[in-house]
């Protein structure tokens, strides 16, 4: 489906800014609710994330002593902007991407990393011990999951022969679901996504029992709310990306909702199944297992394409 709307509307209302933020909060609710159900709890009601966010936005923002003020205030905005910008290149909700060009996959991946970078900087900016440790952990974790995650998303791109997300979407929609063709890639992508979003068991950077809230310990009010929204938007993008790449693409809203929900169920189950990994375990896991598997998948794809060409 194609959307022919004014670019400003695309940017600000749908599928950009306003819509994304709201759907992000809805995703957060779904995440919390599903985890709660897995843990045999009732879970929050649907408006809980909205209420939390509104409350946070209305609260006083305390700027701690000894921080770089402009950076402190700007980082949440940059993080959110990065996430929102990335969303513009993704066929959101079954509609075609608002903007696209050849190679936008790379841009999206980099835009998604803005979040982690901002969190790392935010942590290093404040003087609290928890934030510094949190920032170190967040960045360490970023270096470990980034490569396998990238590899896992590159293999479908290579299979499709394009770096344009929209075209990959059409490719996966027309062919066999890539989860069947590249199961390893799918696993690495899902687990990488969880690492990227710092979901349990990869939540060492914000392990509340050790370092309170990690890099964001000193944030309050608006800054914290923006970071939260940013993270939720990233959750939306990440899930959508995996659906596009591995679950046969999205052609219409119903397909989008169903496939996202299915993936969500898997992700939340994984979230509630494991104990938190220590940061050294996370790094070890990713470099020893994740990266190797991703690489293997990539080689298999390249080899497969090569074989296919020879046979043809």
């Amino acid at each position: 489906m194609n959307l022919s709307l004014h670019p400003l509307i695309l940017l600000l209302i749908f599928p950009g800014g306003l819509f994304l933020m709201n759907i992000g909060l809805l995703y957060e609710w779904a995440d919390r609710k599903l985890v709660a159900r897995f843990q045999s709890r009732v879970g929050p009601r649907w408006f809980q994330p909205f209420a939390d966010t509104i409350k946070l936005l209305a609260k006083e923002e305390i700027i701690p002593n000894g921080v770089h003020k402009i950076m402190f205030l700007a980082l949440p905005i940059i993080a959110l902007t990065g996430a929102l910008t990335a969303a513009q290149y993704i066929p959101m909700f079954g509609f075609e991407a608002s903007f696209s060009f050849e190679g936008d996959l790379i841009v999206v991946l980099y835009m998604l990393s803005m979040m982690t970078l901002s969190i790392g900087l935010a942590g290093a900016n404040t003087l609290s011990r928890f934030t510094i440790i949190g920032a170190t952990r967040a960045l360490t974790q970023m270096f470990s999951y980034e490569a396998p995650f990238l590899l896992a998303l590159l293999s479908p791109a290579i299979a499709a022969g394009t770096w344009n997300i929209g075209k990959i979407n059409t490719f996966t929609g027309e062919n066999i679901w890539l989860i069947l063709a590249q199961p390893i890639g799918f696993i690495v992508a899902v687990v990488g996504l969880m690492g990227k979003l710092e979901l349990p068991p990869f939540d060492a950077p914000e392990a509340e029992t050790e370092i309170v809230a990690g890099a964001l310990t000193e944030y309050s009010g608006r800054g914290l709310a923006l970071f939260h929204i940013g993270k939720n938007v990233e959750l939306v993008i990440g899930l959508t990306l995996v659906v596009i790449f591995y679950l046969g693409g999205i052609a219409n809203p119903i397909e989008f909702i169903l496939k996202s929900a299915g993936l969500f169920l898997v992700v939340t189950a994984l979230q509630s199944m494991f104990a938190r990994l220590r940061i050294d375990q996370t790094v070890g896991l990713w470099w020893r297992l994740g990266a190797l598997m991703g690489l293997l998948q990539l080689l298999a794809i390249i080899f497969g394409r090569y074989l296919g060409e020879i046979l043809r």
């Binding site: 159900r37 897995f38 045999s40 709890r41 509630s272 199944m273 494991f274």
Partner: protein
């Protein structure tokens, strides 16, 4: 050595009723033996004052209206009470009991936590006397 041992329980939990409940809207029934608010029967009381003496949190005040005719009024403070039931145990005349109703206690005022037990005319008499200036309440030994 396994990964995801909990998987079976996760699936089970998804399809069973949650263990938690929507508290103020659904309430559990208090068990029969629950030690809730104290109940006092003035007809049986002989005024041995043991309950007052041994109360660990001074939640009981037994006010004497007329010692000879065994007229007593109990001023009970549920907010101080620790619900240990020591007074119930001590009372040889069974005039103290703990009910299992009313176990959720919250109030914005202190007045709700001052409960008078006794014959109505005794309480009225006491309150009237307390309202008069200059005359103190009867001593509660």
């Amino acid at each position: 050595m396994a990964i995801g041992v909990l998987f079976g329980d996760l699936v089970k939990a998804l399809f069973t009723k949650p263990a938690t409940q929507n508290y103020p809207f659904t309430k559990t029934i208090a068990p029969e033996r629950l030690r809730g608010k104290l109940v006092y029967d003035p007809e049986k009381c002989v005024g041995c004052m043991l309950c007052m003496k041994d109360c660990p949190s001074n939640a009981i005040e037994l006010l004497t209206v007329d010692k000879i005719n065994k007229k007593f009024v109990m001023r009970y403070h549920p907010d101080r009470c620790v619900f240990c039931a020591q007074c119930v145990q001590l009372c040889r005349f069974n005039c103290l009991n703990m009910s299992n109703s009313l176990w959720e206690m919250a109030s914005t005022t202190k007045e709700a936590f001052e409960v008078y037990y006794g014959r109505e005319e005794d309480i009225a008499f006491l309150l009237e006397r307390a309202a008069q200036p200059g005359i103190n309440e009867p001593p509660c030994e």
